[in-house]
C-alpha cells in the first residue's frame, strides 16, 4: 500500500512536467514550427534576395498568382540565414549553423527560437538526396526502356526507408548553354518529363519541364523554373547577389528569444532504437 502511495506521489510530481511539455508540443504544432534544411557549403559566402513566383491557370481561365520574397545570407563557415516575407507582414527566419551543429526557426511574434540538432536535419536531407539519386539512377537505367512502369522505388537506409511513388514518365535531360545571371557564370540543364497519353487517364500527353541554373563558384542555385500543366508554373531566383561575408550577428539568435526544442531529434532517436 505504501509502495503505491510513493509511486502515486512521484507520478503527481512528474505530471506538471508532462503537462508543460505537452502544451509546448501542442503550441509547436499550432505554430507549424519549421526545421530548416540546408546543404552545408563552406568557403563561399554571399547574400542575396530570393523571389519565388507561382502561377496557376484554372479551367475557367482565372489565374492564381503568388509571389514570395526573402533574403538569404551565407558566411564562410557555411552558416545560413534565410528570411521569408509572409503575407501577414511577419518575417519567417531560419538559421542553420553547421559549426554549432544546430538549426533554429525563429518565431518573431512569440520571440521563440525553435532549436533542432543539425544531425536530424542532415538525416532528412540525406534521405531526400538518396531518394533523388536513386530516382536519377533509375531514370538513367530506364532510358533504354524509357517508360517508367509506375512501380514504387524504395531505398532502405539505417535510419529508415524512403519510398518513392513511381509515375509513368518518359524523361529527357539536356544541358543548357552557359550564361551569366546576376553577374555569376552559371550552368544549367533542362529536364523534360512526359506522361504518355492514357497513363493517368489523360487524353493527350502531359509534358512537365524543369530548368535549373547553378553557380559552380558559389555552389548555389541561382534560378530554377518548373512547369507542370496540372500544378502551374513556378520559379525561384536569386537577385542582388553580393559576394561578401555577411554580418556575424545575422547568425546569432537574439538574446531576448526563448529557446525551445522542437523534439524532432528525440523522434528520430526513438526510431533508430527500434
Amino acid at each position: 500500500m505504501q509502495i503505491l502511495k510513493i509511486a502515486g506521489a512521484v507520478l503527481l510530481l512528474s505530471a506538471p512536467l508532462y503537462a508543460q511539455d505537452e502544451a509546448a508540443r501542442k503550441q509547436a504544432a499550432e505554430l507549424m514550427a519549421r526545421v530548416p534544411l540546408e546543404t552545408a557549403v563552406k568557403g563561399a559566402p554571399y547574400s542575396a534576395e530570393t523571389i519565388v513566383d507561382a502561377s496557376q491557370t484554372l479551367a475557367d481561365g482565372n489565374r492564381i498568382v503568388r509571389k514570395t520574397t526573402g533574403r538569404v545570407y551565407r558566411d564562410g563557415d557555411g552558416r545560413v540565414r534565410r528570411e521569408e516575407d509572409r503575407q501577414d507582414g511577419t518575417v519567417g527566419i531560419s538559421i542553420t549553423d553547421p559549426v554549432a551543429g544546430v538549426a533554429y526557426s525563429l518565431d518573431s511574434v512569440n520571440k521563440t527560437a525553435w532549436k533542432t540538432p543539425l544531425s536530424t536535419a542532415g538525416l532528412l536531407m540525406g534521405k531526400l538526396e538518396a531518394a533523388q539519386t536513386e530516382a536519377m539512377r533509375k531514370r538513367d537505367a530506364e532510358k533504354a526502356a524509357p517508360v517508367n512502369d509506375g512501380r514504387a522505388i524504395t531505398t532502405v537506409e539505417p535510419g529508415g526507408a524512403v519510398t518513392m511513388r513511381g509515375e509513368a514518365y518518359r524523361t529527357a535531360d539536356a544541358p543548357l548553354e552557359h550564361r551569366t545571371i546576376e553577374g555569376l557564370a552559371v550552368q544549367g540543364h533542362k529536364t523534360t518529363a512526359t506522361i504518355p497519353a492514357g497513363k493517368v487517364g489523360n487524353e493527350q500527353p502531359i509534358t512537365i519541364t524543369s530548368e535549373e541554373w547553378s553557380s559552380p563558384e558559389l555552389k548555389v542555385l541561382v534560378l530554377t523554373r518548373h512547369a507542370d500543366p496540372r500544378m502551374g508554373e513556378s520559379s525561384y531566383r536569386l537577385t542582388n547577389i553580393v559576394r561578401a561575408e555577411p554580418d556575424r550577428s545575422l547568425f546569432i539568435v537574439p538574446s531576448d528569444y526563448t529557446l525551445k526544442e522542437t523534439g524532432i531529434r528525440r523522434m528520430a532517436d526513438a526510431k533508430r532504437q527500434q
Binding site: 505504501q2 509502495i3 503505491l4 510513493i6 509511486a7 512521484v10 507520478l11 512528474s14 512536467l17 508532462y18 511539455d21 508540443r25 504544432a29 507549424m32 519549421r34 526545421v35 530548416p36 534544411l37 540546408e38 546543404t39 519565388v52 507561382a54 514570395t68 545560413v80 526557426s105 536535419a121 532528412l124 534521405k127 531526400l128 531518394a131 533523388q132 530516382a135 531514370r139 529508415g160 526507408a161 524512403v162 518513392m164 511513388r165 509515375e167 514518365y169 524523361t171 529536364t191 518529363a193 524543369s210 530548368e211 542555385l221 530554377t224 523554373r225 518548373h226 507542370d228 496540372r230 513556378s234 520559379s235 525561384y236 523534439g263 524532432i264 528525440r266 523522434m267 526513438a270 526510431k271
Partner: protein, 151 residues
C-alpha cells in the same frame, strides 16, 4: 454383539498398557540452557534478516515504481511512446522527381485535410477524421518534395 464388545475392551486394555510402559521407558533430558540461548539467538537473527529483507524489498519495489513513473513521464515528455513510432516514413510526393534539385528547404508540421493525402501520394488512414498531422518537406522554391504522417 456382546462377545465383540468384550474382545474390543481387551484390545484397548493391552494398548493402554503398552503405551504406559513406553512412557515409563522414555527419558526426556533436561533443557540445556546454553543450547536454548543459542537457539533463541539464531531465531532472533533470522527474524531480523527477514525484517531487513522485507525493508529492502520495500525500497526495491519503491525504486522500481519511481523509475517506472519517471520513465513514463520522460518518454511522454519527449513524445515517445514505446512500441509506437511517432511518425511514418517520408514518401516522395508524386511528381517530385521532376522538380528542380532541393538545396535548402524546411520541414513543416501542419494539419493536412485527409482529402489532400492522395494527391500527396499517401493513402488516407482508416477512420473518420477530417485532418491528419503531417510533416511536409518543402524546398527553397516552395514546392513540396516529401510527406510523412505524424501518428
Amino acid at each position: 454383539m456382546n462377545i465383540r464388545d468384550d474382545e474390543g475392551n481387551g484390545v484397548d486394555r493391552d494398548l493402554s498398557l503398552a503405551l504406559r510402559r513406553l512412557d515409563d521407558a522414555a527419558l526426556v533430558p533436561e533443557a540445556d540452557p546454553a543450547r536454548e540461548a543459542a537457539l533463541m539467538t539464531a531465531f532472533d537473527a533470522a527474524q531480523r534478516r527477514r525484517t531487513a529483507s522485507r525493508g529492502a524489498q520495500y525500497w526495491y519495489m519503491a525504486g522500481l515504481a519511481t523509475a517506472a513513473a519517471i520513465l513514463v513521464a520522460a518518454s511522454t515528455f519527449h513524445g515517445i511512446r514505446p512500441g509506437s513510432p511517432p511518425t511514418s516514413e517520408f514518401v516522395m510526393v508524386p511528381g517530385a522527381v521532376t522538380l528542380p534539385a532541393m538545396e535548402s528547404g524546411s520541414l513543416v508540421r501542419m494539419d493536412v485535410p485527409v482529402s489532400m493525402l492522395p494527391s500527396l501520394g499517401v493513402t488516407p488512414p482508416a477512420g473518420l477524421v477530417a485532418t491528419v498531422k503531417a510533416d511536409l518537406i518543402v524546398g527553397q522554391d516552395g514546392l513540396t518534395r516529401a510527406v510523412r504522417l505524424v501518428k
